[in-house]
Protein backbone atom coordinates (compact mmCIF):
# COMPACT_ATOMS: atom_id res chain seq x y z
CA UNK A 1 0.00 0.00 0.00
CA UNK A 2 2.74 2.41 0.82
CA UNK A 3 3.68 4.49 -2.16
CA UNK A 4 7.31 4.92 -1.18
CA UNK A 5 9.95 3.46 1.05
CA UNK A 6 11.30 6.76 2.20
CA UNK A 7 11.17 7.41 5.91
CA UNK A 8 8.71 10.07 7.01
CA UNK A 9 11.24 12.07 9.00
CA UNK A 10 12.72 13.62 5.90
CA UNK A 11 15.09 16.56 5.66
CA UNK A 12 14.17 20.01 7.07
CA UNK A 13 11.03 21.36 5.48
CA UNK A 14 12.38 24.72 4.44
CA UNK A 15 14.75 23.21 1.95
CA UNK A 16 13.35 19.79 1.24
CA UNK A 17 15.82 17.03 0.63
CA UNK A 18 16.51 15.45 -2.70
CA UNK A 19 13.59 14.27 -4.78
CA UNK A 20 10.98 16.98 -4.37
CA UNK A 21 7.70 15.42 -5.49
CA UNK A 22 5.80 18.68 -5.86
CA UNK A 23 7.24 21.99 -6.89
CA UNK A 24 5.12 25.09 -7.34
CA UNK A 25 6.64 28.30 -8.59
CA UNK A 26 4.99 31.71 -8.88
CA UNK A 27 1.43 30.37 -8.99
CA UNK A 28 -1.04 33.16 -9.73
CA UNK A 29 -4.82 33.12 -9.96
CA UNK A 30 -7.52 35.82 -10.24
CA UNK A 31 -11.27 35.53 -10.30
CA UNK A 32 -12.43 38.42 -12.41
CA UNK A 33 -10.72 41.45 -10.98
CA UNK A 34 -9.86 39.98 -7.59
CA UNK A 35 -6.40 38.53 -7.26
CA UNK A 36 -6.78 35.42 -5.13
CA UNK A 37 -3.31 33.90 -5.38
CA UNK A 38 -0.47 36.35 -5.76
CA UNK A 39 2.62 34.25 -6.23
CA UNK A 40 2.70 30.95 -4.48
CA UNK A 41 5.93 28.94 -4.13
CA UNK A 42 5.80 25.49 -2.58
CA UNK A 43 8.03 22.44 -2.46
CA UNK A 44 6.98 19.13 -0.99
CA UNK A 45 9.45 16.28 -0.83
CA UNK A 46 8.52 12.71 -1.49
CA UNK A 47 6.82 11.25 1.60
CA UNK A 48 6.44 14.61 3.25
CA UNK A 49 3.28 16.24 4.59
CA UNK A 50 2.58 19.93 4.09
CA UNK A 51 -0.15 21.54 6.17
CA UNK A 52 -1.70 24.75 4.87
CA UNK A 53 -3.29 26.97 7.48
CA UNK A 54 -4.80 30.41 7.18
CA UNK A 55 -7.95 32.47 7.53
CA UNK A 56 -11.10 31.95 5.52
CA UNK A 57 -10.86 33.30 2.01
CA UNK A 58 -7.08 33.38 2.05
CA UNK A 59 -6.81 31.06 -0.96
CA UNK A 60 -6.06 27.65 0.56
CA UNK A 61 -8.72 25.80 -1.36
CA UNK A 62 -7.74 27.58 -4.54
CA UNK A 63 -4.17 26.34 -4.17
CA UNK A 64 -5.35 22.73 -3.85
CA UNK A 65 -7.72 23.12 -6.78
CA UNK A 66 -4.90 24.43 -8.96
CA UNK A 67 -2.71 21.51 -7.93
CA UNK A 68 -5.45 19.07 -8.91
CA UNK A 69 -6.11 20.86 -12.21
CA UNK A 70 -9.67 21.72 -11.18
CA UNK A 71 -8.84 25.38 -11.52
CA UNK A 72 -6.79 26.89 -14.32
CA UNK A 73 -4.09 29.10 -12.83
CA UNK A 74 -3.17 32.32 -14.61
CA UNK A 75 0.57 31.94 -14.28
CA UNK A 76 3.35 29.96 -12.67
CA UNK A 77 4.38 26.34 -12.92
CA UNK A 78 3.38 23.16 -11.16
CA UNK A 79 5.68 20.15 -11.33
CA UNK A 80 4.74 16.77 -9.94
CA UNK A 81 7.24 13.94 -9.81
CA UNK A 82 9.61 15.50 -12.30
CA UNK A 83 7.75 14.08 -15.30
CA UNK A 84 4.64 16.27 -15.23
CA UNK A 85 5.29 19.98 -15.42
CA UNK A 86 2.66 22.49 -16.39
CA UNK A 87 3.49 26.10 -17.20
CA UNK A 88 0.41 28.25 -16.77
CA UNK A 89 2.13 31.26 -18.34
CA UNK A 90 1.53 29.69 -21.72
CA UNK A 91 -2.06 28.45 -21.81
CA UNK A 92 -1.66 24.76 -20.98
CA UNK A 93 -3.31 22.19 -23.12
CA UNK A 94 -6.12 20.11 -21.67
CA UNK A 95 -3.86 17.08 -21.68
CA UNK A 96 -1.44 18.72 -19.27
CA UNK A 97 -4.24 19.46 -16.82
CA UNK A 98 -5.35 15.86 -17.08
CA UNK A 99 -1.81 14.78 -16.30
CA UNK A 100 -1.92 16.85 -13.10
CA UNK A 101 -5.15 15.12 -12.13
CA UNK A 102 -3.64 11.73 -12.86
CA UNK A 103 -0.81 12.32 -10.40
CA UNK A 104 -2.85 13.76 -7.57
CA UNK A 105 -6.10 12.91 -5.83
CA UNK A 106 -8.25 15.12 -3.68
CA UNK A 107 -10.32 14.60 -0.56
CA UNK A 108 -13.07 17.21 -0.27
CA UNK A 109 -14.46 19.06 2.69
CA UNK A 110 -17.99 17.91 1.88
CA UNK A 111 -16.87 14.41 0.83
CA UNK A 112 -18.59 14.78 -2.57
CA UNK A 113 -19.27 11.09 -2.82
CA UNK A 114 -21.48 10.10 -5.75
CA UNK A 115 -24.87 9.67 -4.10
CA UNK A 116 -26.25 7.33 -6.77
CA UNK A 117 -23.43 4.83 -6.43
CA UNK A 118 -22.69 2.41 -3.63
CA UNK A 119 -19.57 2.70 -1.53
CA UNK A 120 -17.78 0.11 -3.67
CA UNK A 121 -18.92 1.72 -6.91
CA UNK A 122 -17.67 5.08 -5.67
CA UNK A 123 -14.25 3.61 -5.12
CA UNK A 124 -13.90 1.59 -8.33
CA UNK A 125 -15.41 4.18 -10.68
CA UNK A 126 -12.07 5.90 -11.29
CA UNK A 127 -9.88 2.80 -11.56
CA UNK A 128 -12.24 0.98 -13.93
CA UNK A 129 -13.90 3.68 -16.01
CA UNK A 130 -11.08 6.21 -16.20
CA UNK A 131 -7.92 4.19 -15.75
CA UNK A 132 -9.31 1.15 -17.54
CA UNK A 133 -8.05 -1.35 -14.99
CA UNK A 134 -9.70 -4.79 -14.85
CA UNK A 135 -12.81 -4.86 -12.72
CA UNK A 136 -11.69 -7.83 -10.67
CA UNK A 137 -8.40 -6.25 -9.75
CA UNK A 138 -9.95 -2.86 -9.01
CA UNK A 139 -12.62 -4.45 -6.84
CA UNK A 140 -10.08 -6.46 -4.92
CA UNK A 141 -7.98 -3.40 -4.25
CA UNK A 142 -11.07 -1.42 -3.23
CA UNK A 143 -12.17 -4.08 -0.79
CA UNK A 144 -8.70 -4.24 0.74
CA UNK A 145 -8.73 -0.48 1.24
CA UNK A 146 -12.30 -0.43 2.60
CA UNK A 147 -11.41 -3.20 4.97
CA UNK A 148 -8.49 -1.27 6.23
CA UNK A 149 -10.64 1.79 7.08
CA UNK A 150 -13.17 -0.50 8.74
CA UNK A 151 -15.88 -0.15 6.10
CA UNK A 152 -15.68 -3.48 4.30
CA UNK A 153 -19.17 -4.47 5.34
CA UNK A 154 -20.54 -1.12 4.07
CA UNK A 155 -19.45 -1.77 0.47
CA UNK A 156 -23.04 -2.11 -0.72
CA UNK A 157 -24.40 0.89 1.17
CA UNK A 158 -25.28 4.21 -0.43
CA UNK A 159 -23.56 7.34 0.90
CA UNK A 160 -26.70 8.65 2.60
CA UNK A 161 -26.70 5.56 4.77
CA UNK A 162 -23.31 6.47 6.25
CA UNK A 163 -22.32 8.92 8.97
CA UNK A 164 -20.19 11.88 7.98
CA UNK A 165 -17.06 10.25 9.30
CA UNK A 166 -17.75 7.09 7.34
CA UNK A 167 -18.42 9.10 4.18
CA UNK A 168 -15.15 10.92 4.55
CA UNK A 169 -13.25 7.67 5.02
CA UNK A 170 -14.82 6.44 1.78
CA UNK A 171 -13.72 9.72 0.21
CA UNK A 172 -10.15 8.97 1.28
CA UNK A 173 -10.34 5.42 -0.02
CA UNK A 174 -11.67 6.72 -3.33
CA UNK A 175 -8.61 8.97 -3.58
CA UNK A 176 -6.19 6.20 -2.59
CA UNK A 177 -7.69 3.78 -5.12
CA UNK A 178 -6.54 6.11 -7.89
CA UNK A 179 -2.93 5.34 -6.85
CA UNK A 180 -1.91 8.98 -6.95
CA UNK A 181 1.55 10.25 -6.13
CA UNK A 182 0.14 13.16 -4.20
CA UNK A 183 -2.83 13.31 -1.84
CA UNK A 184 -4.65 16.61 -1.35
CA UNK A 185 -6.97 17.16 1.63
CA UNK A 186 -9.25 20.22 1.85
CA UNK A 187 -10.35 20.60 5.48
CA UNK A 188 -11.23 16.92 5.61
CA UNK A 189 -12.78 17.07 9.07
CA UNK A 190 -14.48 20.43 9.20
CA UNK A 191 -17.88 19.09 8.10
CA UNK A 192 -17.82 16.33 10.68
CA UNK A 193 -19.52 15.96 14.02
CA UNK A 194 -16.81 16.50 16.66
CA UNK A 195 -16.82 12.90 17.86
CA UNK A 196 -16.28 11.64 14.33
CA UNK A 197 -13.28 13.85 13.62
CA UNK A 198 -10.92 11.41 15.31
CA UNK A 199 -11.62 8.50 12.97
CA UNK A 200 -10.61 10.55 9.96
CA UNK A 201 -7.60 12.24 11.52
CA UNK A 202 -6.28 8.90 12.71
CA UNK A 203 -6.55 7.50 9.21
CA UNK A 204 -4.71 10.45 7.69
CA UNK A 205 -2.01 10.11 10.32
CA UNK A 206 -1.55 6.46 9.37
CA UNK A 207 -1.20 7.42 5.72
CA UNK A 208 1.46 9.93 6.66
CA UNK A 209 3.37 7.32 8.59
CA UNK A 210 3.19 5.00 5.61
CA UNK A 211 4.95 7.62 3.56
CA UNK A 212 2.26 9.14 1.37
CA UNK A 213 3.04 12.62 0.13
CA UNK A 214 0.25 14.96 1.16
CA UNK A 215 -0.90 18.56 1.21
CA UNK A 216 -3.52 19.14 3.90
CA UNK A 217 -5.58 22.26 4.47
CA UNK A 218 -6.65 22.13 8.09
CA UNK A 219 -7.67 24.10 11.13
CA UNK A 220 -6.68 21.31 13.49
CA UNK A 221 -3.46 22.87 14.74
CA UNK A 222 -2.73 20.03 17.12
CA UNK A 223 -3.02 17.60 14.26
CA UNK A 224 -0.81 19.71 11.98
CA UNK A 225 1.84 19.93 14.66
CA UNK A 226 1.94 16.18 15.06
CA UNK A 227 1.52 14.93 11.51
CA UNK A 228 2.91 17.57 9.14
CA UNK A 229 6.57 17.84 8.22
CA UNK A 230 6.01 21.45 7.26
CA UNK A 231 3.37 24.11 7.89
CA UNK A 232 2.66 27.07 5.60
CA UNK A 233 0.54 30.02 6.73
CA UNK A 234 -1.48 31.45 3.85
CA UNK A 235 -3.02 34.91 4.05
CA UNK A 236 -4.32 37.19 1.33
CA UNK A 237 -3.17 34.89 -1.44
CA UNK A 238 0.46 34.67 -0.37
CA UNK A 239 2.45 32.32 1.82
CA UNK A 240 3.25 34.56 4.72
CA UNK A 241 5.62 32.09 6.33
CA UNK A 242 6.36 28.41 6.40
CA UNK A 243 8.54 26.09 8.38
CA UNK A 244 8.75 23.33 10.91
CA UNK A 245 5.33 22.78 12.53
CA UNK A 246 6.55 22.68 16.11
CA UNK A 247 8.50 25.86 15.60
CA UNK A 248 6.03 27.84 13.51
CA UNK A 249 2.95 27.01 15.55
CA UNK A 250 4.62 27.97 18.79
CA UNK A 251 6.78 30.88 17.69
CA UNK A 252 5.66 32.40 14.43
CA UNK A 253 7.98 35.12 13.13
CA UNK A 254 5.22 37.13 11.45
CA UNK A 255 2.70 39.25 13.31
CA UNK A 256 -0.17 38.10 11.03
CA UNK A 257 0.57 34.48 11.80
CA UNK A 258 0.71 35.24 15.48
CA UNK A 259 -2.71 36.92 15.44
CA UNK A 260 -4.28 34.10 13.47
CA UNK A 261 -2.92 31.45 15.78
CA UNK A 262 -4.02 33.41 18.79
CA UNK A 263 -7.58 33.67 17.52
CA UNK A 264 -7.68 29.94 16.94
CA UNK A 265 -6.06 28.86 20.17
CA UNK A 266 -7.69 31.32 22.59
CA UNK A 267 -11.08 32.04 21.09
CA UNK A 268 -12.61 33.71 24.13
Amino acid sequence: MSPTDLPTDAAPADAPAVQPLLTVRGLRKSFGSSLVLESIDLTVGRGQVLALIGPSGSGKTTILRCLNGLELADGGTITIGGEVSVDFGTAPVRKELTALRDRSAMVFQNYNLFPHKTVLENVIEGPIIVQGRPRAEATEQALTLLDRVGLAEKQGAYPFELSGGQQQRVGIVRALALRPQLLLFDEPTSSLDPELVGDVLRLIKELAVEGWTMVIVTHELEFAREVATEVAFVDGGTIVEHGDPKQLLRNPTQERTRQFLHRLLFPF
Partner: protein
Protein backbone atom coordinates in the same frame (compact mmCIF):
# COMPACT_ATOMS: atom_id res chain seq x y z
CA UNK B 1 -78.88 10.70 -16.52
CA UNK B 2 -81.69 9.00 -18.36
CA UNK B 3 -81.55 5.63 -20.05
CA UNK B 4 -80.76 6.77 -23.58
CA UNK B 5 -78.02 9.10 -22.38
CA UNK B 6 -76.57 6.27 -20.37
CA UNK B 7 -76.72 3.98 -23.41
CA UNK B 8 -74.96 6.56 -25.51
CA UNK B 9 -72.33 6.94 -22.81
CA UNK B 10 -71.69 3.22 -22.70
CA UNK B 11 -71.73 2.65 -26.42
CA UNK B 12 -69.31 5.49 -27.09
CA UNK B 13 -66.87 4.42 -24.37
CA UNK B 14 -65.53 1.70 -26.66
CA UNK B 15 -64.58 3.97 -29.57
CA UNK B 16 -63.18 6.62 -27.24
CA UNK B 17 -60.95 4.14 -25.43
CA UNK B 18 -59.97 2.72 -28.78
CA UNK B 19 -58.96 6.23 -29.84
CA UNK B 20 -56.87 6.52 -26.70
CA UNK B 21 -55.16 3.19 -27.24
CA UNK B 22 -54.46 3.54 -30.95
CA UNK B 23 -54.04 7.31 -31.11
CA UNK B 24 -53.49 9.32 -27.98
CA UNK B 25 -51.21 6.98 -26.07
CA UNK B 26 -48.79 5.89 -28.82
CA UNK B 27 -48.68 9.43 -30.15
CA UNK B 28 -47.83 10.80 -26.72
CA UNK B 29 -45.26 8.10 -26.00
CA UNK B 30 -43.38 8.42 -29.26
CA UNK B 31 -43.46 12.23 -29.22
CA UNK B 32 -42.27 12.29 -25.64
CA UNK B 33 -39.36 9.97 -26.33
CA UNK B 34 -38.21 11.95 -29.35
CA UNK B 35 -38.87 15.26 -27.59
CA UNK B 36 -36.82 14.19 -24.60
CA UNK B 37 -33.80 13.38 -26.75
CA UNK B 38 -34.17 16.77 -28.41
CA UNK B 39 -34.56 18.44 -25.04
CA UNK B 40 -31.35 16.91 -23.72
CA UNK B 41 -29.49 18.21 -26.73
CA UNK B 42 -31.02 21.67 -26.34
CA UNK B 43 -30.29 21.74 -22.63
CA UNK B 44 -26.64 20.94 -23.27
CA UNK B 45 -26.50 23.60 -25.97
CA UNK B 46 -28.02 26.11 -23.56
CA UNK B 47 -25.33 25.25 -21.01
CA UNK B 48 -22.53 25.34 -23.53
CA UNK B 49 -19.92 28.02 -23.20
CA UNK B 50 -20.08 28.59 -26.95
CA UNK B 51 -22.31 31.64 -27.33
CA UNK B 52 -23.74 30.74 -30.71
CA UNK B 53 -24.80 27.29 -29.61
CA UNK B 54 -26.55 28.60 -26.55
CA UNK B 55 -28.16 31.39 -28.58
CA UNK B 56 -29.64 28.94 -31.06
CA UNK B 57 -31.07 26.85 -28.25
CA UNK B 58 -32.39 29.92 -26.49
CA UNK B 59 -34.14 31.14 -29.65
CA UNK B 60 -35.65 27.75 -30.33
CA UNK B 61 -36.98 27.45 -26.81
CA UNK B 62 -38.37 30.96 -26.86
CA UNK B 63 -40.27 30.42 -30.10
CA UNK B 64 -41.63 27.01 -29.14
CA UNK B 65 -42.81 28.23 -25.78
CA UNK B 66 -44.03 31.57 -27.03
CA UNK B 67 -46.36 30.40 -29.78
CA UNK B 68 -49.49 28.26 -29.66
CA UNK B 69 -49.07 24.56 -30.32
CA UNK B 70 -51.98 24.73 -32.72
CA UNK B 71 -50.00 27.02 -34.98
CA UNK B 72 -46.95 24.79 -34.77
CA UNK B 73 -49.07 21.86 -35.91
CA UNK B 74 -50.55 23.86 -38.77
CA UNK B 75 -47.21 25.11 -39.98
CA UNK B 76 -45.78 21.62 -40.17
CA UNK B 77 -48.81 20.00 -41.71
CA UNK B 78 -50.24 22.69 -43.92
CA UNK B 79 -47.36 25.13 -44.24
CA UNK B 80 -44.37 22.97 -45.09
CA UNK B 81 -45.99 21.57 -48.26
CA UNK B 82 -45.73 25.01 -49.79
CA UNK B 83 -41.98 24.56 -49.43
CA UNK B 84 -42.30 21.19 -51.11
CA UNK B 85 -42.15 19.16 -47.89
CA UNK B 86 -45.14 16.88 -47.57
CA UNK B 87 -45.32 14.82 -44.40
CA UNK B 88 -48.02 12.32 -43.50
CA UNK B 89 -50.40 13.06 -40.62
CA UNK B 90 -48.86 10.74 -38.06
CA UNK B 91 -45.24 11.76 -38.63
CA UNK B 92 -46.38 15.38 -38.80
CA UNK B 93 -48.03 15.07 -35.42
CA UNK B 94 -45.01 13.33 -33.93
CA UNK B 95 -42.70 16.00 -35.30
CA UNK B 96 -44.83 18.86 -34.03
CA UNK B 97 -45.32 17.41 -30.57
CA UNK B 98 -41.66 16.41 -30.29
CA UNK B 99 -40.56 19.90 -31.20
CA UNK B 100 -42.94 21.26 -28.62
CA UNK B 101 -41.92 18.85 -25.86
CA UNK B 102 -38.29 19.56 -26.73
CA UNK B 103 -38.72 23.24 -25.95
CA UNK B 104 -40.44 22.69 -22.63
CA UNK B 105 -38.37 19.75 -21.40
CA UNK B 106 -35.10 21.47 -22.32
CA UNK B 107 -35.64 24.02 -19.58
CA UNK B 108 -36.52 21.30 -17.10
CA UNK B 109 -33.41 19.31 -17.89
CA UNK B 110 -31.21 22.37 -17.83
CA UNK B 111 -32.50 23.31 -14.39
CA UNK B 112 -32.01 19.75 -13.19
CA UNK B 113 -28.41 19.68 -14.39
CA UNK B 114 -27.74 23.01 -12.69
CA UNK B 115 -29.27 21.67 -9.48
CA UNK B 116 -26.60 18.99 -9.12
CA UNK B 117 -24.05 20.37 -6.66
CA UNK B 118 -20.84 21.69 -8.23
CA UNK B 119 -18.91 19.32 -6.00
CA UNK B 120 -20.15 16.41 -8.06
CA UNK B 121 -18.50 17.81 -11.17
CA UNK B 122 -15.32 18.36 -9.21
CA UNK B 123 -15.25 14.88 -7.77
CA UNK B 124 -15.79 13.48 -11.27
CA UNK B 125 -12.95 15.57 -12.68
CA UNK B 126 -10.80 14.65 -9.70
CA UNK B 127 -11.02 10.94 -10.45
CA UNK B 128 -9.91 11.83 -13.97
CA UNK B 129 -13.15 11.92 -15.90
CA UNK B 130 -13.62 13.99 -19.03
CA UNK B 131 -16.46 16.48 -19.23
CA UNK B 132 -18.56 14.10 -21.28
CA UNK B 133 -18.01 11.19 -18.94
CA UNK B 134 -18.72 13.30 -15.87
CA UNK B 135 -21.94 14.40 -17.50
CA UNK B 136 -23.20 10.97 -18.49
CA UNK B 137 -22.04 8.92 -15.55
CA UNK B 138 -22.27 11.34 -12.65
CA UNK B 139 -24.40 14.39 -13.39
CA UNK B 140 -27.24 13.14 -15.57
CA UNK B 141 -28.21 10.21 -13.34
CA UNK B 142 -28.60 12.65 -10.48
CA UNK B 143 -30.39 15.22 -12.64
CA UNK B 144 -32.80 12.49 -13.72
CA UNK B 145 -34.22 12.18 -10.24
CA UNK B 146 -34.81 15.91 -9.94
CA UNK B 147 -36.51 16.15 -13.29
CA UNK B 148 -39.03 13.35 -12.89
CA UNK B 149 -41.83 15.48 -11.40
CA UNK B 150 -41.61 18.38 -13.88
CA UNK B 151 -41.17 16.00 -16.81
CA UNK B 152 -44.24 14.10 -15.69
CA UNK B 153 -46.14 17.34 -15.85
CA UNK B 154 -44.85 17.93 -19.36
CA UNK B 155 -45.98 14.46 -20.31
CA UNK B 156 -49.43 14.93 -18.83
CA UNK B 157 -49.82 18.19 -20.74
CA UNK B 158 -48.71 16.40 -23.87
CA UNK B 159 -51.35 13.72 -23.44
CA UNK B 160 -54.03 16.37 -23.34
CA UNK B 161 -52.48 18.38 -26.16
CA UNK B 162 -52.57 15.40 -28.49
CA UNK B 163 -56.26 16.19 -28.88
CA UNK B 164 -55.11 18.88 -31.30
CA UNK B 165 -53.83 16.14 -33.57
CA UNK B 166 -57.41 15.68 -34.68
CA UNK B 167 -56.90 18.92 -36.60
CA UNK B 168 -54.33 17.26 -38.78
CA UNK B 169 -56.21 14.11 -39.54
CA UNK B 170 -54.92 11.89 -36.75
CA UNK B 171 -57.69 9.88 -35.17
CA UNK B 172 -57.34 9.84 -31.43
CA UNK B 173 -59.44 9.99 -28.30
CA UNK B 174 -60.91 13.44 -28.73
CA UNK B 175 -61.60 12.96 -32.40
CA UNK B 176 -63.60 9.85 -31.61
CA UNK B 177 -65.63 11.80 -29.08
CA UNK B 178 -66.25 14.54 -31.64
CA UNK B 179 -67.45 12.01 -34.16
CA UNK B 180 -69.97 10.52 -31.79
CA UNK B 181 -70.99 14.01 -30.73
CA UNK B 182 -71.57 15.04 -34.34
CA UNK B 183 -73.77 12.05 -34.87
CA UNK B 184 -75.74 12.21 -31.64
CA UNK B 185 -75.70 16.00 -31.20
CA UNK B 186 -74.83 15.31 -27.53
CA UNK B 187 -71.53 17.13 -27.49
CA UNK B 188 -71.64 17.99 -23.78
CA UNK B 189 -71.92 14.37 -22.73
CA UNK B 190 -69.25 13.21 -25.14
CA UNK B 191 -66.79 15.91 -24.13
CA UNK B 192 -67.30 15.04 -20.50
CA UNK B 193 -66.75 11.42 -21.35
CA UNK B 194 -63.54 12.27 -23.17
CA UNK B 195 -62.45 14.31 -20.16
CA UNK B 196 -63.06 11.32 -17.93
CA UNK B 197 -60.86 9.12 -20.09
CA UNK B 198 -58.12 11.76 -20.14
CA UNK B 199 -58.36 11.97 -16.38
CA UNK B 200 -57.99 8.23 -15.97
CA UNK B 201 -54.93 8.26 -18.22
CA UNK B 202 -53.42 11.10 -16.20
CA UNK B 203 -54.12 9.31 -12.93
CA UNK B 204 -52.36 6.26 -14.28
CA UNK B 205 -49.43 8.42 -15.35
CA UNK B 206 -49.23 9.99 -11.91
CA UNK B 207 -48.94 6.62 -10.26
CA UNK B 208 -46.22 5.61 -12.71
CA UNK B 209 -44.48 8.84 -11.74
CA UNK B 210 -44.79 7.85 -8.09
CA UNK B 211 -43.19 4.48 -8.74
CA UNK B 212 -40.41 6.03 -10.77
CA UNK B 213 -39.63 8.54 -8.06
CA UNK B 214 -39.52 5.81 -5.49
CA UNK B 215 -37.15 3.79 -7.61
CA UNK B 216 -34.84 6.73 -8.25
CA UNK B 217 -35.06 7.69 -4.59
CA UNK B 218 -33.39 4.54 -3.43
CA UNK B 219 -30.05 6.27 -3.04
CA UNK B 220 -31.34 9.46 -1.47
CA UNK B 221 -31.90 10.14 2.20
CA UNK B 222 -35.53 10.28 3.32
Amino acid sequence: MNQSTWDLFLSSLGPIIMGAVTGTIPLALVSFAVGLALALLLALMRLSRRRWLSSIARGYISIVRGTPLLVQLFVIFYGLPSLGVLIDPWPSAVIAFSINVGGYAAEVIRAAILSVPKGQWEAAYMIGMSHRRALTRIILPQAARVSVPPLSNTFISLVKDTSLASLILVTELFRQAQQVAAFSQEFMLLYLEAALVYWVICLALSSVQGLLEKRLDRYVAH
